[in-house]
Amino acid sequence: MKVTRLALALVLCAALPCLAQTLRIGLAEDPDVLDPTLARTFVGRIVFAALCDKLFDLDENLKVVPQLATGYEWSPDYKALTIKIRPDVTFHDGEKLDAAAVKFNLERHKTMQGSNRRGELAPVASVDVLDPATVRLTLSAPFAPLLAILTDRAGMMVSPKAAQAAGEKFSLKPVCSGPFQFVERVAQGHIVFERFANYWNKGAIHFDKVIYQPITDSTALLAALKTGQFDLIERMAPSDVPALKGDTRFRVAKIVEIGYQGITFNIGKSERAQKNPAGKDPRVREAFELSLDRDAIVQVAMSGEALAGNQWVAPTNSWYAKSVPIPKRDLARAKALLKEAGVPNASFTLMTPTTPDAQRVAQVVQAMAREAGFEVKIQSTEFTTTLNMADKGDFEAFVLAWSGRPDPDGNLFSHLACKQPLNYSGNCRADMDDLINKSRSTVDAAARLKLFEQIAAMEAKDRPIVYLYHRHWLWGYTGKLSGLRMIPDGLMRVQNLRMN
């Protein structure tokens, strides 16, 4: 009898793809809370991609595609969005994913204590269940970024039963509806997921287990890939790319991020803005921008692994305002502007987080600006402290990176609209606010782009933020791994990944 069973197993194994495969992913840092409502880091989203499916997803061109939803429809006045929900989807605990569950989740995102999704879903006034497979979101005003927002954590669905039962402790054992379910997590150690047998798209999953391990040191992370400890690593250091390029066992995948890296100036966040020439006088900021050679910055500081830019979206993005191109370096004009402003040796302090990227950029910028007469003082500050100081306006200039959101509004509104939480520059112009608000409620793409062009032109004149470049997301992976899709949000999807 034993032999028969063994034979049967072998036959079955030959007939079906025999899955004992584990996918090992190396992360550049440890994720935070594993609850989509409370989560607040980029790296957490990488893990969610395998654990929690969401209403919609993104493709390589940042187009919204269905995932847990099968379709959507805007009302004629764009104040209501009707979403059709995929039938036969269950959560990891067996509960059905229906309209009631979707309503529960959206309300949880909006009302739970400590929720980080509240701002994202603020324009959603109410959620109604039309039938078990249809929900309708009613908005207080047309809100163009909504669909894009539902492709991120705000669109992730957790099991209502599990959430209610676990309450505050839900994140210790999250229950979602993605291709993999939670097994265990050792903080800073590893996160283990195993295949969810009843996943609605199980044909696309070719791994039994996924294990994530954070390794904060980039040299050690690369070493772990090279020694076969990981199949895939994320956010490689730009300087490590040549090392892998030469090795035929591995590949490097790269794509321009949806975020940006730039220098934010305090032009009105606090009194400090008036105490330094760069904060006071837009001509000084113009001179500063003209003293920079963005291509050289990308070459030297990022080993070429970035794309120079001058707006909150990359030049390759469909929402980039082509009428506002990247200015070329012009030292002569920079010096002239400084002279005109009366400060031939303008000096200001550049608050720089102690991360390697920011430190390199700051040093390169300091050296370049010096050639125009600037005296940039680098003030290295621990990253956590920079957030605080920026929030209080206790800075003059700040090397700030933003991880990016799929809809350009996510890179624009909170940063440049008056008094918004991420508006560290203190930029406050009624005309720009007006345009930004209009751009949020304009659903027609062409009209929206025109608005962005106007905003970009305004921003480029005033320069509360001098955008510098958009990094490449850099993934290193074993050549045996196929099916990897590079999507600009930098998150790896596990669907259709296969080990050969």
Binding site: D217, S218, V300, T354, R360, I378, E382
Partner: protein, 293 residues
């Protein structure tokens, strides 16, 4: 009166003071001498930096990013085109300062407190001892990190943080020596004669503790240089663009594959400097403690 010819003195071996005897023992220990020579070498480099560094340590050159050693750049260039040799030379200042200033802080705070604890006794001693125990019970690097984070990332703050975190060792050492000496006859005699506490502390107690303090201080300098490098690894030491071996090593570790010269020279320098202080400290301990001589 006829000048009296100076009498022929028999060559009597002069009585050597304990210090001179110790010095002799020190000189005989080869390891310590090598250590001393290296320390002097590095101090000289640090002092002469402005004259011997071939390039500006902060001078960047976009066309010379991560170039291997050549005639123009003897140690190669770093990730933004600066000369590694010049940065190593200037970095000697930061690393030596990290070692010397930290320990100076520890000594100037720790020794008086230790003296107070040992000499005053009773409540003062109890309070100081408990606080010292508490500081020693916290991991040294954690204390240093928390302090450096509190003060803000910079070389000066790193030195203060390391200095404070290393103080309890000196408090304990001083206190221990004071307690041992306090009961000696000559100290009791001095008190009987009416010397003030302060006078006794300075004239009788201090000379006895100098020896172990010197040894401990030398070894502490070695540890402090390492500590600065460790803090740099976490982004808390000397901040760019100013060079220090620790922060250079921290940046260079990401380029070990394609630009190993960036790491080799600062790494070797730290190693030699710390090794030499360790050798010197060990030699001093042997020399100053007759049981080992």
């Amino acid at each position: 009166m006829a000048a009296i010819a100076s009498p022929v003195m028999a060559t009597v071996p002069r009585e050597l003071t304990p210090w001179q005897r110790a010095l002799r023992r020190l000189v005989r220990r080869r390891g310590a001498m090598v250590g001393l020579a290296l320390v002097i070498f590095f101090v000289a480099i640090a002092l002469l930096a402005p004259w011997i560094a071939p390039h500006d340590p902060l001078g960047t050159s976009w066309s010379a990013v991560r170039k291997p050693p050549s005639a123009q750049y003897w140690f190669g260039t770093d990730e933004i085109g600066r000369d590694v040799l010049s940065r190593v030379i200037w970095g000697a200042r930061a690393s030596l300062l990290a070692g010397l200033v930290s320990v100076a802080i520890s000594l100037s705070v720790g020794v008086p407190i230790g003296l107070a604890a040992g000499y005053l006794g009773r409540w003062a001693d109890m309070l100081i001892s408990r606080i010292t125990d508490a500081m020693l019970a916290c991991p040294f690097l954690i204390l240093a990190i928390a302090l450096a984070a509190f003060l803000g990332p910079s070389l000066t703050n790193a030195m203060i943080a390391i200095g404070i975190a290393a103080t309890p060792v000196f408090i304990r050492l001083t206190r221990g020596q004071v307690l041992a000496v306090k009961v000696e006859d000559y100290v009791e005699a001095a008190r009987a004669v009416g010397n003030s506490h302060l006078r006794i502390a300075l004239r009788h107690v201090m000379p006895n503790i100098v020896a172990p303090l010197i040894v401990q201080a030398t070894l502490a300098i070695a540890a402090a240089v390492i500590a600065e490098a460790s803090l740099s690894f976490l982004g808390l030491g000397q901040q760019p663009p100013a060079p220090s071996w620790g922060s250079m090593l921290n940046t260079a570790k990401n380029y070990v594959d394609n630009a190993p010269w960036m790491a080799v020279w600062p790494g070797l320098s730290i190693f030699l400097l710390v090794l030499s202080f360790n050798l010197l400290g060990d030699g001093l301990r042997d020399a100053l403690d007759p049981r080992h001589g």
